[in-house]
Chain length 632, copies 2
């Protein structure tokens, strides 16, 4: 295969490309994003570029005027290289260069650490998108089926492909590409419901370079994993705060904001900016060409999915709480403003109801609850806390608004579970030991750090059952203009760059959050006529840190006082489930059924729930009999 | 449902529209075609219009600059009416107004008459596109599934819909549309392989207005039928010469032309212009809103399909004769430049090989050959003649280049089978009787007229077996600068506006055409080790006229001398088959298998074929023993 040297102006970036690579793909591969609204179908005409030197070949298009053709304009998505070339990309053909689409200068997605989820599932590796290298027999008089049928026939031999289709734009380039590559091509195949779509044809063997990204879009935090689709390996995990947080801390305030003029678009852009920031982080860190990322799988709550898809979420918060959609077949990622391969697809996890989304479906799958014989409970602690009870026979779910405290957001020294996050605290007399991620200098507390710290402070009498600090109990309690605060780590200790403190306001947030979760668990279990003792497995999920001290979580009254052996901490189960679905067509298929069979229990306006919540606004609870192990 | 008065500028056309109609749909309904390259997905931003008066509502779009938003620009595909309005459609948002896209001034598609095909097929009426009126129950606390699932659930009750999907743009408008229409909506559903796509949602009950068009694209003639998808009735049939004819009379010259710079695009535009001309003829004659035409089904030979899809056909004429594709799933008609409902679909009949296309598949189905027990022969007489032999057990096909003489093209007084076409001739002594379509004043001869005239002239000795005119035999034979000609009708006779003549050059064209067809039939039957007597049914197809005199066709040596009882004239079987597939999902499904199982026999370079052809260049044939009934 010939290789050409191509320079893009005015960026003056040079890249080596194979013959037949489109100008669009070449530009993307060196980080120049050309507008291609139609996903490279050649119909929108937005990707005009100018050939300054060299030779391009291109099918004719009605999108260029005679004048433009004379001036050497081409459509980047249709034109391919025949020689070394110099290409000018005019300003109007670029994606919003100055606007919010591109990450703010210097902002970076952070690498995060999460524990691997429960490994109950062992699905066969059969990703929703995959590449396949085909060596086709050249046509003969005895074997002169069409070019497209020749590709389909070879794919069919694998037994993995049903009802293949492809876009017209690919058929238009196929005859030449097949012959110039001497019948050796790589196809990128995507699973779309009952059929397979060939997203792209590439000359030669490129099947080793095939990547996907799984995302969990939380109200507060967006986490992503870069996946090697060939091996199923996780190459990296990164997170960033959801930029929507600037427009409201929870889903209700976001929905309200979406009703403002341009509000829906603003929120949509905020979340896609966040996703693109994480993607950019991966491409930079792993030196990956954006073209090689061919699919994205996203799990998130129902409101997040509406905002992502730019669908009006207003009816989610109006009685009788109806979402516009719960599931959606694969759409072109580009159509939603996510920049990967221009023809790459976006899949979302099927949701259950307005307040229990696809993140919960993903969590159920990740924990294997849908196939479990014994009674299981999933407690997913996020800004919206979701609780699921059930097994292979039934599944019932509810949700409770907890606020972002456990994600380290809205707290004076809160942070994500990244390097330097305090995730465990031990207070012995005047000594405080801080367990930090990667043993780095402490930068703040992640969710598990708050849980551990509050439990320790309570145990040492530094905190009373109302959540107030007791100055007499420690010389680390000090007054500020805002009230009392506890100094967990002084600037300079363990190389800390600043004082790390926990304020009474922080503790109040933790108390409310844990009360909302605990009350929802209690009500759900009671309404189904079970008791906590009936539950054989409790999965605790959330983006707290790499570990969670279950004893501490029980000690503060966040989790019910069950036998410690039934508990397991599964980390971000939504992200794990999203990754598993990305890697398994079968699991993706099953996920729709699981979402469909999960019942939703509405707690808003439920008096019992309100009573439970109020009773839980103490450490650990007003009714200490509920926590027999603490009582002892 | 509220109705608003909307005026478009600068056309100054006013139309009444319902609330929620998009500006794009309203414009199309009064004949203003706005560019919507992406098919109304809201992603290409080509359909910008300016609101001059009134109120529009629209989801936000990233396609408009702040400046444009301030100047009241909207995207026509996203904006809908909230009041009476005045809309300006800027020049740049219109489809090529001055260029070849719109029919030439005054040119009109002609209504044509064709006999109905063999009625062997009685498939259940289940069109590829259909409308369904749904009265949805309003959501309640007990029944609060998502809006989209509510629609799917109601569709599912019909038992006709599998795996429904719809585009993001439809989901974006759905919540509001459902509530404003009080949960009464009409969905337009299209069948795309293994799934159903909801193309559009409309408020209220519009299911009575649902149309499709079946087309046969011939090398010379394009014929279309307007179909009421609700009843399956044919509302009208029109034809026009394929505008590609200006670039070459047959597929080989067209393929050569396609290799010129912009040649492929020129040929593509020529055929879509022809299709749009016919569509325009229907909408004008039947006062049909273009939006109500939701699908188009096209059958045509393989080269025509490549040019239609703008796919390079060069390998069709290069050994080993490989097309780029034989079949294609439904694509958006707009993407190919066919103007119907912007989201409407284009289906094509699956082809068999480079020289036997989907028109033949359609013909096989229309004649019921694929289910026949007895041995059948289909002779489709067009510019490319195609012959199929077989039954339910096997099917074998070949093709022969006949030229356009039987379609009335390239002949001095040739015409389509429209009003005034001579389709039968009787010569008795000095008297000539002319049977004209609709008994109108004679305007020329259609294919069946030439066959009848040549047979009569030969029988009366006006023509010798070499195809030369015999001046002594009739005073209607006269010399011209180009050679001899026979005056079939003098100007003024039967109100003829001009002399209607048959020249020796016309007869030479007929002779070559009939020899090509006859030779192909002979070779195919012989290669399969049958004789003509083994064949129990012979279907003669083609766009000749409303009837064909089989005796005359045998007399000139076009058709083999079989028992007259086995013959039936089936008219344009390609068009009939296209219509039948448009109206039957089952038949469309079957068509792929039929195309796949039909074997192609290549005649080019076959010495036997060349010998047969040369021997057939006489009236009726050099070997009179082949025509025993004529000998007697």
């Amino acid at each position: 295969m010939d290789k050409f040297k191509v320079t893009f102006l005015p960026d003056n970036k040079t890249v080596e490309v194979e013959r037949h690579r489109t100008v669009l793909a070449a530009a993307i591969s060196c980080g120049i994003y050309i507008n291609s609204a139609c996903g490279g179908d050649g119909v929108c005409g937005k990707c005009k570029i100018i050939l300054r030197k060299g030779v391009l070949s291109s099918p004719a298009s009605g999108m260029l005027s005679e004048d433009e053709t004379e001036k050497n304009y081409y459509l980047a998505c249709l034109a391919s290289f025949e020689s070394d070339a110099v290409i000018e990309v005019p300003q109007e053909s670029r994606i919003d260069l100055e606007a919010p689409k591109s990450p703010e200068r210097g902002e970076q997605a952070e690498e995060i650490r999460i524990p691997e989820g429960n490994g109950a599932r062992h699905e066969k590796l059969l990703p929703l998108c995959e590449k396949m290298y085909l060596q086709l027999p050249a046509p003969t008089a005895q074997d002169n089926i069409s070019d497209l049928d020749r590709v389909y026939r070879e794919m069919d031999k694998t037994g993995k492909i049903t009802s293949p289709t492809t876009a017209l734009v690919n058929v238009r380039t196929l005859p030449r590409l097949l012959r110039d590559s001497e019948w050796k091509v790589t196809v990128t195949i995507a699973r779309r419901r009952t059929r397979s779509e060939i997203l792209a044809f590439e000359p030669g063997d490129t099947h080793a370079k095939s990547f996907g990204i799984a995302f969990d879009i939380g109200t507060t935090t967006v986490s992503g994993q870069l996946i090697d689709l060939k091996s199923g390996a996780v190459l990296g995990t990164k997170a960033a705060y959801n930029r929507q947080a600037a427009y409201g801390p929870d889903i209700i305030t976001r929905i309200i904001y979406s009703q403002k003029r341009e509000g829906l678009k603003t929120l949509h852009d905020a979340v896609t900016d966040t996703l693109n920031l994480i993607i950019e982080g991966f491409t930079r860190e792993f030196s990956i060409d954006l073209n090689t990322i061919t699919c994205v799988f996203i799990a998130g709550n129902t409101t997040m999915m509406h905002l992502l898809m730019q669908v009006d979420p207003r009816h989610i918060r109006r009685d009788p709480y109806v979402p516009a959609f719960n599931s959606f077949p694969g759409v072109r990622a580009q159509e939603v403003g996510i920049f990967i391969n221009p023809r790459g697809l976006l899949y979302i996890a099927a949701g259950i109801s307005s307040y229990v989304g696809g993140d919960v479906t993903a969590g159920i799958l990740a924990c294997g609850m849908d196939t479990a014989k014994e009674l299981c409970l999933l407690i997913d602690i996020g800004t919206n806390g979701e609780i699921v009870l059930g097994n292979s026979e039934f599944l019932i779910a509810t949700s409770a608004s907890a606020g972002p405290a456990f994600e380290g957001s809205g707290q004076s020294c809160g942070m994500r579970s990244a390097s330097g996050a305090v995730q465990k605290v031990k207070i012995t007399g005047k000594t405080i030991e801080l367990d930090r991620i990667e043993n780095a200098a402490p930068r703040g507390l992640c969710g598990s750090g708050y849980i551990s710290a509050v439990a320790q402070m309570f145990a040492r009498g530094i905190l009373d059952k109302n959540g107030k600090l007791v100055p007499e109990a420690s010389d680390r309690v000090r007054p500020t203009s805002e009230g009392l605060e506890f100094v967990l780590c002084r600037k300079g200790e363990m190389d800390a760059a600043r004082d790390i403190v926990i304020t009474e306001a922080d503790i109040e947030n933790i108390k409310r959050a844990k009360a909302a979760i605990y009350a929802a668990v209690s009500i759900l279990v009671r309404k189904m006529s079970f008791s906590i003792r009936d539950i054989k497995k409790i999965f605790v999920a959330g983006g707290f840190g790499t570990s969670l001290d279950i004893d501490a979580a029980i000690a503060i009254g966040l989790l019910p006082d069950a036998d410690r052996a039934v508990y397991s901490f599964v980390g971000n189960s939504s992200l794990t489930g999203a990754r598993q679905m990305l890697l398994s067509q079968e699991l993706y298929r099953v996920s729709g059924h699981v979402a469909g069979k999960t019942t939703y229990l509405e707690l808003s306006g439920d008096h019992e729930y309100m009573d439970e919540y109020t009773a839980a606004l103490f450490f650990p609870h007003t009714d200490i009999d509920r926590f027999p192990s603490l009582k002892r």
